[in-house]
Amino acid sequence: MGKDKKNKVLMSGNEAIAEGALQAGCLFYAGYPITPQNELIGYMSVHMFEKNGVFIQAESEIAAINMVYGASAAGVRAMTSSSSPGISLKQEGISYIAGAELPAVIVNIMRAGPGLGNIWPAQSDYFQATRGGGNGEYRCIVLAPASVQESFDLMSTSFGLADKYRIPVIVLGDGMLGQMMEPVQLPVASCQLPGKTKKPWALTGCKGREQNIVKSFYMREGDLEKFNLKLQGKYAQIMKNEQEYEEVDTKDAMIILVAYGSMARIAKSAVKFLSGKGIKAGLIRPITLWPFPVKAFQPRNRNICYLAVEMSYGQMVEDVKLAVCGKAKVAFLGRSGGGIPTEEEIINKAKTLSPKA
């Protein structure tokens, strides 16, 4: 951040996501209001027209995600946003987008559940985002910004990845991130603008070429399995190439916190505090939740302990366990339903875990 005052704007996470999308060349947005992401749809409703893009307040989240399907099929960068209950409703649509291999960006500013729950921040839709809450064998790339600046920056990454792999990308934030304001440096340095990726598959009318079909249905025996294998190949590629994470002081750490999004901010404060107390603590902050950054968990000292910290009762921790695979201790601290593990709680838990030495 530093002292560079130029081009900095105080923005909320929701606004930064919207602005980031617009600067990344998003030309279609459809959404339905829901707290805590209303500033996002609000921002889009004003600024999309300035870009000559299309903004639609849809009649429902389901209509919105299927509109995104349509706009993307027609070849433009398209997105929707919502919060947890609304994202649940989009699951079939997301599955179709994955099945039709369409690029699309879906923003989930998570709130606490289950059901209507409340509007407070939470990270309880991790499983849904990373393992597909919809039907069938598909994945979405899942990105988790931890600051307003990163919320802005990751939008161009999202659209870039979506186009590159023809895959739905989920940006997973939470109510705190969506609502809070921070300074943001605009515009993004290297913007993966559209046009880089050609879209010969898009529906544009068949002038001068064969018919294009966008679909997820495979009628003939064997075809769907073949297609599924193709998808799996793509996913393997993404797992290999696209893991992103931030590491803080992990080198000599005996206790490594693992946290993403808003939660990671608090975990980082805790790490600083612990280090100050002479406890060798570090942090792994997954930026891609799928592919999960298993790379970051390459074998370390067997005596170290990972402490997954979540605004949930333990979802990402499963990925940590799967990555560590019994080769180190994995502990967990979490709260949900609007509760957020505090810096103090993290510090206390970490203290009980760090090997006496």
Partner: protein, 177 residues
């Protein structure tokens, strides 16, 4: 330096704006800053609050459990937030509408609403409070705040700029004078 401020009052009192002006001023000075509003149905029924953190270092949670300063603009807000103050920390209160009974609380009270009415616009009570706050905690410079007020005003509304800046000045001078 890290300063955590909770600002609370009722819907029409410009609570959010107070916080934003402060946050913008901090950004203008190159500081790290976060601003977190109360949101959603919480807002119904007329209470409003926001949380501002200003720091020289990266900020963890924007949520404030224990505040370095409270700015309390009405009575319900006092009840809700008085427990959130760090031991020995300062509370700025709008004595037009609220005066803490608990004598253990270190409260600096001035009649912001009343003073704003005197200035000709009840709505600038928030800026009087901001000035008062800045006089006590020099988190950001007064000049930054005045610049931000100018920047944030709609074009052609120099009247607004003037009265708001005047309100800040009045607030600054309350305890100075």
């Amino acid at each position: 330096m890290t300063e955590k401020i909770i600002i609370a009052g009722s819907g029409g009192q410009g609570i959010m704006l107070l916080g934003k002006v402060l946050a913008e001023a901090a950004m203008f000075e190159g500081k790290f800053v976060t601003w977190l509003p109360a949101y959603g149905a919480e807002v119904r029924g007329g209470t409003a609050h926001c949380m501002v953190i200003i720091s020289d270092e990266e900020i963890g949670s924007p949520y404030i459990d224990k505040a370095d300063t409270l700015i309390i603009m009405n009575k319900p807000s006092l009840n809700r937030f008085s427990g959130r103050l760090k031991k020995g920390a300062v509370m700025i209160t709008n004595s037009s509408l609220v005066t803490p009974e608990d004598k253990r609380l270190k409260a600096i009270g001035y009649p912001f609403t009343g003073l704003a009415v005197k200035l000709g616009n009840v709505k600038v009570a928030n800026m009087v409070a901001l000035g008062c706050y800045l006089a006590h905690k020099k988190t950001v410079g007064i000049s930054s705040v005045l610049a931000i007020i100018k920047k944030m005003a709609p074009a052609g509304r120099s009247d607004l700029v003037k009265i708001n800046q005047g309100a800040v000045d009045m607030g600054v001078n309350l305890s100075n004078g």
